[in-house]
């Protein structure tokens, strides 16, 4: 079934999906002559786990970059919370409540796990320079309040033991987890995950899937993720967008996607990675 209505509904497996949170309309993105994304539209609804799949170079990451304002598309609109979003810089979008992780980890290598996740709280901290310099009153209080929140995320992600370790020295899987933590710390409305399980072994993948679902359920965070592992996608995604060569070739629940002939030909058929 395709969803045309704006109002909430319940999926087959009984999860409640809210109204549209973000909607992209007719996005076209070009680099010089190359067209990375061509006239793509889809929506992301509150509380759902939305997957974007497609072969390499299909333009998935570019799509995320458009959503969090790193790329500015030549055509098309982005609607967030039913408002047309004026072109803005990534950091402004972060303040709107969109956080993300990256395909190849983009952590702050020189800083500890704790500090990395603390930076995630940046949009929630506002004390002035002088206050911080004196480290009294507002600044200190603010620091501790946010520190508590971060500690909760650390517990949630089960990374207490590496709290003070420089992230540069952590194994890949843990780095991915810390990056997720940093994104979560922002308490985003919408969480964009770019291949959160790339290069992970089975257990790590299971952990990560669990975290994503818990985030979605406990914090009610809307999640949009890019993933190659069809199994995972089919398990955790409520709805899936399929892209190929910058075009959208399918959109719907995993069940529907499995049946979609175009998708099968273009994607499932050929790739067994």
């Amino acid at each position: 079934m395709t969803i045309a209505t704006q109002d909430a509904f319940t999926t087959d497996d009984g999860r409640l999906i809210g109204p549209t949170l973000l909607e992209v309309k007719g996005i076209t993105l070009k680099f010089g002559g190359v067209t990375a994304i061509e006239n793509i539209s889809f929506d992301i609804r509150e509380g759902e786990v939305r997957a974007i799949i497609g072969p390499n170079g299909a333009g998935k990451s570019s799509m995320l970059n458009v959503i969090n304002g790193f790329y500015h598309p030549q055509e098309g609109e982005v609607w967030f919370k039913n408002e047309l979003r004026a072109p803005m810089k990534p950091y402004q979008i972060a303040y709107q409540g969109i956080a993300r992780t990256f395909q190849n980890i983009a952590l702050f290598k020189g800083m500890s796990t704790l500090d990395n996740i603390m930076t995630g709280r940046f949009t929630h901290m506002s004390s002035g320079i002088l206050a911080q310099a004196l480290w009294k009153g507002s600044a200190e209080r603010e620091e501790f309040v946010n520190r508590e929140k971060v500690e909760r995320i650390i517990d949630f992600l089960e990374i207490q033991q590496i709290r003070k370790t420089e992230v540069g020295r952590l194994p890949y899987g843990l780095q991915k987890r810390v990056e997720l933590g940093r994104a979560l710390a922002a308490e985003p409305k919408l969480l964009l995950l770019d291949e959160p399980m790339a290069g992970m072994n089975v257990e790590e993948k299971e952990d990560m899937s669990r975290f994503i679902l818990d985030v979605n359920e406990e914090f009610g965070t809307t999640v949009a993720l890019i993933e190659h592992d069809m199994g995972v996608v089919m398990d955790i995604a409520d709805r899936v967008v399929v892209m190929d060569y910058g075009k959208k070739i399918g959109d719907g629940t995993p069940v529907e996607i499995r049946k979609n002939q175009v998708v099968i030909d273009a994607y499932l058929g050929i790739s067994h990675d």
Binding site: F31, S61, N65, F70, F102, Q103, A106
Partner: protein, 322 residues
């Protein structure tokens, strides 16, 4: 109309000639940066060191004479009346090559794969060492350097155009051009040259050519040693060989900004632009704002240029990816 100002063309030409010299020094930077990603701050001191060594051989000084006298009290300044310039040049070149080898072995190898800033610092330390050693070996007093280059204004130009152009600077420019040309040929048509360009892109590629990284570095540092020698000779012949020679490095930095750290043509064009630009500015605008602008004008020019074209003269547009 400014073009008919009798001085315009003279300022322009002397700017070009100065520019060639800047380009020459800048070239030394570029070569090393291309091949090893090192911003070699010691380039200027290398030039000084080379020139000192040359004069030392030429006039037959005894190295460390002052030290010997101080420590052992034996008073020897010269071991003879020197040697022919050509021989001295060759010997100094060998010294520079040996120096390059030492630098690679002692300083660079332990620091391989460090961040740029660390390597940059290392070269500053190196500059200190070379400066001290150079002075200790050959003494700090000013030395005349005469490699038989013609001096004085070119009478030909004087008679036909009324311009005072130094013969020395013309020959310096010629030598510099020859050097630059041969370096380009070298990097285009020799296996080593290709290796150098390969290593600039990625180290593995270079190894696949079958030349070890250290060898490549050694070659590069030797070449920039040669460049330093030539630069040292030219500037030394102009203003005597003394400490200030090492400051010519500062003249090359804006050239690098303009031309890019990795582009040989960039270094050349940039050098010429800076040379002409600063001379023009000093000559026409300088007097209005009190003169002595040459120290900063080049930097300001490069700065403004970069503000509008961050990738420099020949760099291609940078597209950031995530």
């Amino acid at each position: 109309m400014i073009l008919f100002d009798p001085f315009f063309w003279e300022v322009f030409i002397s700017g070009l000639l100065a520019g060639v010299m800047y380009a020459l020094v800048a070239l030394g930077f570029v070569l090393i940066f291309k091949a090893s990603g090192i911003f070699n701050f010691a380039q200027g001191v290398l030039a000084l060191f080379a020139a000192l060594t040359l004069v030392g051989f030429q006039t037959g000084q005894v190295p460390f004479a002052h030290l010997l006298e101080a420590v052992f009290g034996l008073h020897v300044t010269h071991w003879g009346d020197g040697m022919p310039t050509v021989l001295a040049l060759l010997l100094s070149l060998f010294v520079m090559i040996g120096l390059a080898w030492l630098i690679v072995k002692i300083v660079l190898r332990p620091l391989v794969n460090q961040e740029g800033i660390i390597l940059f610092m290392a070269t500053i330390g190196l500059a200190f060492v070379l400066e001290g050693v150079g002075d200790l070996m050959w003494g700090a007093n000013v030395k005349r350097l005469d490699v038989g280059l013609p001096e004085g204004p070119s009478d030909f130009l004087l008679d036909h155009t009324g311009m005072f152009i130094e013969k020395l600077e013309i020959s310096a420019a010629v030598v510099a051009m020859i050097l630059v040309a041969s370096l380009m040929l070298f990097s285009q048509y020799t296996k080593m040259g290709r290796a150098l360009r390969a290593v600039a892109d990625d180290h593995q590629a270079a190894l696949s050519v079958g030349i070890s990284l250290e060898t490549i570095w050694w070659v590069v540092w030797s070449i920039s040693g040669l460049v330093a020698l030539v630069a040292g000779v030219m500037w030394g012949a102009k203003s005597g060989v003394q400490f200030s020679l090492s400051l010519i490095a500062l003249k090359a930095l804006p050239v690098l900004m303009l031309g890019g750290f990795t582009s040989i043509p960039g270094a050349i064009i940039g050098g010429l632009m800076i040379g002409v630009g600063e001379k023009m500015f000093e000559f026409y605008i300088g007097p209005m704002i009190g003169g002595a602008t040459e120290n900063w004008f080049a930097y300001m020019l490069a700065l403004l240029f970069l503000l509008f074209r961050p990738q420099g003269l020949f760099g291609e547009k940078i597209i950031e990816r995530v």
